[in-house]
């Protein structure tokens, strides 16, 4: 019931977000046609504007746009006029989602074991080594990691392709570039979560009952110790999106991140609004999934 309400609450939220973005971008003077050759006559300009409904009052424009969106049509891109926004999103979304989810898996797959190792061997050499590496990863953003990886592994040693997509080999460098920072963050969070959990009452009870230390760590503590990582994964998906803009630009990957940046530079308003809405939907859904998982892992959490 709680989650049904959460999903229903998305509708007014998305309406508000879309309305704000729409109005803000439509009242902005200047438009996508500014950078192109001036129309031959005022007549033609009027026709173009009429075709894209730019001559109507703003609430009418919003209504026209919204009734299209309900049918899955985000309107034409004002820059790439032979394509609709829906087409462009459908073309770029799979590759963005693929790289994003692989980076997510990479960050979890590297970060959780790393945090686990540092917490179990607290104060030992592996704690210092992996801990330092994690802090380094946090302070080296994607826009530094990416060019360095490209220079060394793609240009100098030519182990991986420099750019574009195609084979699985193309994905290695972008995924590492995108995921490394988050692997570091997760490693630190996991360590803190485990250390906090190992101090708690129910672990002491388990020890008193004579449960073996390895069973305590893997079966009891891990479940609760991983929760900080889980709560971080909501905001993390938002930051992954930002990172994906950089990664897509750097590796010339034809995902939707590139279109978001370009539509902002070109003032391609329909494109920008469509993408803002899409990102909002993805994030909202991701957060609902995170909360669901939270409830499954931690029996103390109750949703009402």
């Amino acid at each position: 019931m709680y989650f049904v309400r959460r999903i229903l609450f998305m509708i007014p939220l998305l309406l508000v977000v879309s309305m704000l973005t729409f109005v803000l971008l439509r009242i902005t003077p200047g438009g996508p046609f500014d950078k192109e050759r001036a129309p031959a006559s005022p007549e033609i300009e009027r026709n173009i504007k009429a075709k894209y409904h730019l001559d109507k009052p703003i609430h009418v424009q919003y209504w026209i746009w919204l009734s299209g969106v309900v049918k899955g049509d985000f309107g034409p891109s004002l820059k790439y006029r032979s394509h609709s926004v829906t087409d462009i999103i459908a073309g770029g979304l799979p590759i963005t989602l693929l790289i994003g989810s692989m980076a997510f898996a990479f960050a979890m797959g590297v970060g959780i074991p790393a945090g686990f190792i540092t917490s179990v061997g607290k104060g030992a050499w592996q704690d210092h080594l992996v801990g330092t590496l994690s802090i380094l990863a946090i302070c080296i953003p994607a826009l530094v990691v990416g060019p360095i990886l490209v220079t060394i592994f793609a240009v100098r040693w030519q182990l991986f392709p420099v750019a574009l997509v195609g084979t699985p080999m193309h994905l290695v460098l972008p995924v590492i570039t995108l995921g490394l920072y988050f692997a570091g963050r997760i490693s630190r969070l996991m360590r803190e979560g485990m250390l906090d959990t190992l101090k708690s009452e129910f672990i002491r009870t388990a020890r008193a009952k004579g449960v073996s230390e390895s069973a305590i760590i893997t079966r009891h503590a891990f479940r609760i110790g991983v929760l900080p990582v889980l709560s971080y994964s909501g905001p993390m998906i938002a930051d992954l999106m930002v990172g994906s803009f950089v990664v897509e630009t750097l590796f010339r990957i034809p995902g939707i991140g590139v279109f978001l940046v370009n539509s902002s530079l070109n003032r391609d308003y329909t494109m920008l609004i469509g993408l803002v809405l899409l990102y909002a939907v993805v994030l909202l859904l991701a957060n609902i999934i995170v909360d669901l998982t939270h409830g499954i892992l931690d029996p103390r959490v109750k949703f009402e």
Partner: protein, 317 residues
């Protein structure tokens, strides 16, 4: 921590713990070096149009020495226009630090007032305000900054044309929009933390005593609640600065933040990344700005983490 004397105030004890943390002190020294270098540099640079002599140059001074490798004259080499990279890195760091610091202050003002009001008022106000924060957490905030910058980009030329603002203000206004925008999306964590702290302070006897004495709410907030939350606020302020610097460098890297001829670390790294090719590697164009960004972020994060550990109430006792 049994060796810490107990006759000190909590803040003094936190300071002692901070100074014992070697990594944090190292971070503080590194921060001091970076800040000192970038803000003292403008005092010694010559005019942009003077001849290139020595190793101190103006960040915008052009020369014929394009893509020169680091030498005694240009310690970090030169870029595509023959400009001295050392001086560009220093001025870029200055811009990044200013955006980070002012952006963090903007987030501080919004976050602290939001959290303090929510925690202090409690009840329905608290519920509505914190639900709003929850909702904002789930929205793609950085994209709003992009939309905001795009909108401003459209309005500024019109204002210039109509004479409302001077054309010379445009770069400054864009700069201001950048840190207002970034600060405007970075206050959520601060609001949550402050609200939690205020909530716990509110029921303490000395606040009840002030209330019984008939002191106004605003005065209680100003005189008692905020000073008691100061340590916590400083901790999250230091952690917000590197976060905003990171966002700024991302936006600038994408061409949406700082605009040329101004440079920030993000645009410098983007320029360096553009020159990567298989024929020749201009390694200095990438290494020095990237190294500077990493050093700055490391230093600020060390300080922030050190402060957080020092002010952690669990460390008391």
């Amino acid at each position: 921590m049994s060796d810490v004397p107990t006759n000190l105030s909590p803040n003094q004890r936190a300071l002692r713990r901070f100074l014992k943390n070697r990594l944090a002190v190292l971070g503080l020294l590194m921060t001091a070096c970076v800040v000192g270098a970038v803000f003292l540099w403008p005092l010694v640079v010559p005019d942009a149009h003077s001849e290139m002599q020595g190793w101190v140059h103006h960040p915008d001074a052009h020369s014929d020495e394009q893509f020169a490798a680091p030498t005694g004259g240009n310690l970090m080499g030169t870029d595509i226009h023959g400009r001295d990279l050392l001086s560009r890195v220093l001025s870029g760091t200055r811009i990044s630090l200013i955006v980070g610091a002012i952006g963090a202050l903007v987030s501080l003002v919004i976050g602290v007032s939001w959290g303090a009001i929510a925690g202090f008022k409690g009840g329905r106000t608290d519920a509505v305000m914190m639900r709003t924060v929850d909702v904002l957490y789930t929205l793609p905030s950085i994209i709003f900054v992009i939309v905001f910058m795009t909108t401003l980009d459209g309005f500024l030329p019109r204002f210039v044309k109509s004479g409302t603002i001077n054309a010379e203000w445009v770069p400054f206004l864009k700069f201001a929009a950048l840190f207002v925008g970034l600060g405007g999306i970075s206050w959520l964590t601060m609001a949550r933390i402050v609200r939690g702290h205020v909530l716990s302070l509110r029921s303490r006897p000395f606040i009840e005593a002030s209330r019984a004495l008939g002191i106004s709410n605003l005065r209680i907030l100003k005189r008692h609640i905020l000073p008691n939350s100061l340590g916590l606020i400083i901790v999250y302020l230091t952690l917000t600065i590197p976060a905003i610097i990171l966002y700024e460098s991302f936006l600038s890297y994408l061409g949406l933040g700082i605009q040329p001829p101004q440079a920030s670390l993000g645009t410098l790294i983007a320029d360096g990344a553009m020159q990567i090719n298989s024929i020749r590697i201009y390694w200095w164009l990438l290494t020095f700005p990237a190294g500077m960004l990493v050093t700055t972020l490391l230093a600020l994060n060390f300080v922030g983490d050190g402060l957080r550990d020092a002010f952690d109430p669990k460390a008391e006792g």
